[in-house]
Symmetry: C2
Subunit: 186 residues, 2 copies
Amino acid sequence: MNLKLKITEMQRLSVEEFRESRKLPVVVVLDNVRSLYNVGSVFRTCDAFRVEEIIICGITACPPNIEIHKTAIGAEFAVRWRYFKDTEEAVNVLRSEGCRLYSVEQCQRSILPNQAVSESKGGKVALVFGHEVKGVQQSVVDLSDGCIEIPQAGTKHSMNVSVAVGVVVWEFFKEFLPQLADKSAR
Amino acid sequence: MNLKLKITEMQRLSVEEFRESRKLPVVVVLDNVRSLYNVGSVFRTCDAFRVEEIIICGITACPPNIEIHKTAIGAEFAVRWRYFKDTEEAVNVLRSEGCRLYSVEQCQRSILPNQAVSESKGGKVALVFGHEVKGVQQSVVDLSDGCIEIPQAGTKHSMNVSVAVGVVVWEFFKEFLPQLADKSAR
């Protein structure tokens, strides 16, 4: 028998403990993400992977918001966030705060998520994810140190943005797992 | 300048080409997934990662469905799928078809996604993902060869199921990328 864990066995953090915990040195930037469900889903993933901060830009909606709550299910109370009207300004501020900047986009010179993890050597990174149809703005790509691409081998041109956040942040989280595995470790 | 690719530069497959293409030897099983948006999002991810088949079980809705289409955006026309009323029956059929079976669940003896990739050594696998609240049924876990867990270090007890599909299938897809990179390679 391989029994499913009970919720009490999962040893999750309280919101207070989360706020004081050591974070993954990753900031997730949302460049004009339209769907409130996607924003909520990103909060939930960033809670699970203990992301340092979400930077909400442009038309992307901020909490508190009932539609965000439907997919964040409370993760929006744990993960720290800031809002910038202008994504270019946000990216410049993040650089001044010591972040290496990656746009997650299909570009001429993109690298794989795991290559970005190696390249950033444990330093703080900001990962920019874009609008559901238009992607990350070219002007923001131009301000980035590089582009990360999730290779795709199907018929559609892009992935869902909240799934893309999950895949890319997971690659960084994997590396930091031993260091984050304090209370949440089993 | 690191220019964003134009859609014509992405060299995606047509639906016909997709159907005839070499697939990732992964089958995604949805055990009573409630949300139509999640089902659609899973189709879109399975298109991108060229998954062999989606097995739709129980209360999980099947295409064609207008709500599934909103997040699948046509991926439901490319990816092959079958419906089983009973997930246990589906899992038994998949085993008879040569699949190694993993439930994606938080269990007493779970392994990491990358460990499952090593363990399955390129053979065909079926990955079972469960209901948004209840997860994979214990009876289906009991029929599995093992459990895959995405470690989580936050406040919430689980991840969004469509994000979990993205993370786990990505780990398998990464290994197969060189073999799948025919027309979709750049």
